[in-house]
């Protein structure tokens, strides 16, 4: 039965299965305690983790989200079981770090990663639409670079120990979540946990971790990727990843309706703002950074579980980016974009365009 299931996951319909499962489970996690329309959000959860570790001091968004550890460890288990654990690194790690920084800044100007953009849409938050259009524009700009020889260079096989760094990091995060030690003076901080706001809202740890492990496993087997979906559709007219996104939105829409979490409109949406321009621009930046790096943030977590050290560097860049976004007043809030969010978005887009133009190489045919 297990091998039959694996064959199904490895088929063209695999991403749609993962999309449907995530689409059902994300609203359920919100129902069980996660913030509204944030059942799963890779960027928001990364931001919460950065906060819990004291990398920023926005008191309302600090929590170690076990879902993300689950992504890495679920992917690791699947990769080990099917002999796809391949430690590799060396493809312009420093650039990938900064792509992660700016991808996170863009996502926090919009207030969500691509996964959350689709979840917000499925729950009736119309502010997601300019975000998704921006994401697509960012991906299309990335495709232009890809057709013109953009490459961050090759990665090379590495030792097993290197591939275990991010899984070990995931385990350490889980330990910090459960033990919640304090290291700061007077017993205060890190680890910080929000007492109010989105950071204080979370599903039970065991359930959140279980969902993370399951999604990590499924996404590893099916290569589910919300940025690759748009990219392959536009570049190659290949629908198979995009079907995953469609299944995701459809399943989340039905689940949100069923749980009474559907609320159509722009005003008063949870953890969202109504500024169309910067919802759009934030995701242009994110979409471009993700495309240059090779996948959506969820996919980066999955690849880091497969031993991809460069994906791990991108994730660390995202955590640092979250710290910067809140410390430098770049992140948006329900009131609107942060004071310096728009300027940082422009800087990020210029950075990504420069990388796109400068990092070109010819692969001999």
């Amino acid at each position: 039965m297990f091998s039959g299931l694996n064959r199904l996951l490895m088929s063209r319909g695999g991403p749609a299965i993962t999309g449907a499962v995530v689409g059902i489970l994300a609203p359920v996690l919100s129902f069980l305690g996660n913030p509204a329309n944030m059942g799963i959000c890779v960027a928001c959860f990364g931001r919460d983790i950065a906060g819990a570790l004291g990398m920023h001091r926005a008191a309302v968004v600090q929590y170690i989200r076990p879902e993300l550890s689950g992504f890495i460890l679920g992917s690791l288990l699947a990769a080990l079981m099917y002999k796809e654990f391949k430690p590799r690194t060396g493809s312009s790690p420093i650039i990938r770090f900064f792509l992660g920084v700016f991808a996170m800044i863009g996502a926090l100007v919009f207030l969500g990663c691509p996964w959350r953009a689709y979840i917000r849409l499925s729950a009736g938050d119309l502010n997601a639409i300019p975000g998704i259009i921006g994401l697509s524009v960012g991906v299309i700009i990335g495709i232009f670079f890809l057709w013109n020889g953009f490459s961050l260079g090759r990665s090379y096989p590495a030792k097993k120990a290197m591939g275990m760094i991010m899984p070990a990091f995931a385990v350490v995060l889980l330990a910090l979540l459960i033990l919640a030690p304090t290291f700061g003076p007077d017993g205060a901080g890190p680890i910080f946990f929000s007492e109010t706001g989105p950071g204080s809202q979370h599903a039970p740890i065991a359930i959140a971790l279980g969902v993370g492990l399951l999604v990590g496993w499924l996404a590893q087997r099916t290569r589910f990727c919300t940025v690759g979906a748009i990219r392959d559709l536009v570049m190659l007219r290949d629908f198979h990843l995009f079907n995953g996104v469609l299944a995701f939105i459809a399943a989340a829409f039905i689940t949100n309706l069923f749980l009474g979490q559907f609320n159509l409109g722009m005003e008063g949406q949870p953890v969202a703002h109504t500024n169309i321009l910067w919802n759009f621009m934030g995701m242009v930046l994110s979409g471009l950074a993700f495309t240059l790096a090779g996948g959506c943030p969820g996919r980066m977590f999955i690849m880091s579980g497969e031993g991809d050290g460069d994906a791990g560097i991108f994730i660390l860049g995202m955590l640092v980016g979250a710290g910067i976004a809140h410390n430098f007043s770049l992140a948006s809030s329900p009131a609107g974009p942060g004071a310096f969010g728009p300027s940082a978005t422009i800087v990020g887009i210029i950075f990504c365009l420069a990388i796109g133009f400068l990092m070109r190489e010819k692969v001999t045919v």
Partner: protein, 74 residues
């Protein structure tokens, strides 16, 4: 064209193996192209593209753990 040409896409990020394969298919139009990749995901992606464009696909695992995907079109 009798000789085969080789695309070495080992270690390249998604979707570059597919991009380079597509470029090679456009250049040669037919014949035999060998694509070297290092992950199962890249092998699947290259194979899917080639089949979609009407090429025959076969692949073998290499001793270093990578794969050689051979695509042919008469």
């Amino acid at each position: 064209m009798n000789e085969s040409s080789t695309v070495d896409a080992r270690g390249l990020s998604c979707p570059q193996p597919v991009v380079e394969t597509k470029k090679a298919m456009n250049v040669y139009g037919r014949g035999k192209i060998e694509v070297l990749v290092d992950t199962v995901t890249s092998r699947e992606n290259v194979s899917r593209l080639a089949r979609k464009q009407g090429w025959e696909v076969s692949s073998e695992e290499l001793p270093d753990g990578g794969f050689k995907v051979t695509i042919t079109k008469a």
